[in-house]
Symmetry: C2
C-alpha cells in the first residue's frame, strides 16, 4: 500500500444565471470517477484474479473504500485477511488509479461462484452491468439535436412546481423525485422513491410501457443531485434537458457535454448554473 | 399487468427532542422495501427464468421501475420486447408484491452469461450480494449492547461540526459525508464521496485497515438520509449510534430497532427525532 492522490473536486467553466443577469465563471464540482475493485486469491489450482465491483466514487481513500466494501460484503473480516491493497499495474493496463487490487491471505476461502449467484446489480447504480471501465460509454446513443430552447425564467419555476406536486415528500422529507415537464413548463409525470435512480427508472419505465422509448420534448427535473448514472439513464431515453436542484458531479457534466445534453444545477427561484448544453436556454444577453 | 398498490409512507412512533422539550409522537417515514426483478424468456432449450436484480425501493409503480431498469440496462428496447409484467406468483412464493416477473417476447435474445460477466455489485448498494429477499438479514450480527449514553445537547452540535470539517462540500455542494465522533463529541474521522455509501465504506475500511473491525464507542454522523444499506454497513462494524441530518427510511428504522442500534433523524441545532435505540440518549424528562 502506498500513498494515493486525494482529489475531491474539479473546476469547470459554466454560465451562471442569477437575478436576471448572466455571467461566465469557473465552478467547482465534486469529482466522480469509476473505481473497479479486483480480488486476487489463492485458488485450488493457483492464483486467481477477478473483478468483483465497479462503483462511481470521488477519488481519494480508494484503498479504504475497497476494504470497507469487502468488509461490508463479508468477504474480508479483519485486517489479517488482506495481504496487500494496491493500484492495479497489470501489463497493458493504463495506470489511471481507477483499479484497486486486493490480495487475500492464503487460506482465506473465497468462492467466485458465490459472486455469480449472489451479486446482483441494482437500479440505484447505473454503472452496474459494465464489465470494464472502457464500457462506460453509453452504447448506441447519438448526440442529441438542439431542436428547441426555453426561457430562463420558466426554468426557475420548475423546482417549486415539482415540490408542490410531491405528495409524499411533505410528510416524510425522505423521498427523491424525478419530474418530467413539457417545454412550456407543464408537469407531465412525477415519480418518487427513496432511491433517486429508482424514481427516474419509474418515470422512464412508464413511458416504455406506454410505447415511448424516446422523450425528446421533455425537461427532466431532479429533486437532488445529478450523478453520472442519472445522466446516463436520461440519455438512454433521449431526454435532452436535465434541471437538477442539487449539484452535478464531474462525470455527469462530462457525459452531458459529450452528448449535447443540457445539464443545469442548483436550479432555484432566482437562477441556476448551466453546466452543459447552453444552446437550449434562450440567452439573449449571455456573455461569450 | 394489473393495478398495484401505491404506499409511499409508513407511520412510526418516535420520541422528539425540540428546543429542550421531549414529546412522544407519530412520525411518517418513507417506505423502503426490497424489490426483486425476475426475467423469463424463451431459451434454446425451453423457458428460462432468473432473478437479475434486487433494489431497495419505495413501493408503488413497481412495473414501471422494473421496465425502466431493464430499458436502462439495454435488456429491453421497446414496449414490444415485453409480453407481460406481473407480481410473481410462483408456487411456494409468499405474495408480498416484492417480486416482479418480466416476460420477454419470443425471439428476443437474452444471454444469462452476460449477467454473470457484466453485472457487478456496487458499494452504493448494500443489498447487492443478497441472493434472495430472505437473505436480507445482516448475517452474524448480534444485538448491540447499550453500554453508554450521551446528552441530547451534545448531539445537536454534531452536524455543524461535520459541516465545518468538510473540506470539499463548501466548494461544490456535491458531496455526502460520513463522520465518526467520540462519545464526548470529538471528531475522529471524516470521509466524503459523491456516493453516501462510499463515504461510509471509506470510513469503515480505514478502521479495518488499521486492525479494527468493531467501532463500539463511536457516533456515526451522516450528512444526508439514513437508508437500509447505511444502517446495515454500520451494524457490520458494530457502530451503535447513528445521527443522520436527513430522514430515515422505514426499513432503516426497522433494522436499527431490531439490533438495538440508536438511529436519530433530522438532527439539527435545536433538536432531533429518535427513531430507535432511545436508551443511548440521556432523557431524564422523556415521556413514557
Amino acid at each position: 500500500m502506498t500513498a494515493e492522490r486525494a482529489t475531491g473536486n474539479v473546476s469547470v467553466p459554466i454560465t451562471r444565471f442569477r437575478a436576471g443577469a448572466w455571467s461566465a465563471v469557473e465552478d467547482t464540482v465534486a469529482a466522480e470517477e469509476p473505481l473497479e475493485v479486483r480480488l486476487r486469491w489463492q485458488g485450488p489450482s493457483g492464483v486467481e484474479q477477478r473483478s468483483i465491483a465497479v462503483t462511481m466514487r470521488t477519488p481519494g481513500s480508494d484503498f479504504e473504500l475497497a476494504t470497507g466494501f469487502l468488509f461490508g460484503e463479508g468477504i474480508v473480516r479483519s485486517r489479517e485477511d488482506i495481504i496487500d491493497v494496491s493500484y492495479c499495474t497489470d501489463a497493458g493496463e493504463e495506470q489511471l488509479q481507477n483499479v484497486v487490487l486486493v490480495t487475500l491471505r492464503p487460506g482465506l476461502t473465497f468462492d467466485p461462484a458465490r459472486l455469480e449467484r449472489n451479486f446482483y446489480t441494482t437500479s440505484s447504480c447505473g454503472i452496474c452491468g459494465k464489465a470494464t471501465l472502457e464500457a462506460l460509454e453509453v452504447q448506441g446513443c447519438e448526440v442529441l439535436p438542439a431542436e428547441w430552447a426555453v426561457q430562463p425564467y420558466l426554468i426557475c419555476l420548475l423546482p417549486r412546481a415539482l415540490r408542490e406536486a410531491q405528495v409524499v415528500f411533505s410528510r416524510t422529507g425522505g423521498l427523491h423525485a424525478a419530474g418530467l415537464f413539457s417545454r412550456d413548463g407543464a408537469l407531465l409525470d412525477l415519480f418518487e422513491d427513496v432511491g433517486r435512480h429508482n424514481a427516474l427508472d419509474k418515470l422512464i419505465g412508464s413511458h416504455v410501457l406506454a410505447g415511448q422509448t424516446r422523450i425528446p420534448g421533455g425537461i427532466l427535473v431532479l429533486s437532488g443531485r445529478a450523478s453520472f448514472e442519472l445522466v446516463q439513464k436520461a440519455l438512454m431515453a433521449r431526454i435532452p434537458f436535465i434541471a437538477a436542484v442539487g449539484a452535478p458531479s464531474s462525470l455527469a457534466v462530462q457525459l452531458a457535454d459529450g452528448f449535447g445534453q443540457t445539464l443545469l444545477g442548483f436550479v432555484r427561484e432566482d437562477g441556476f448554473n448551466i453546466y452543459a448544453g447552453r444552446q437550449r436556454i434562450e440567452t439573449p444577453r449571455a456573455p461569450g
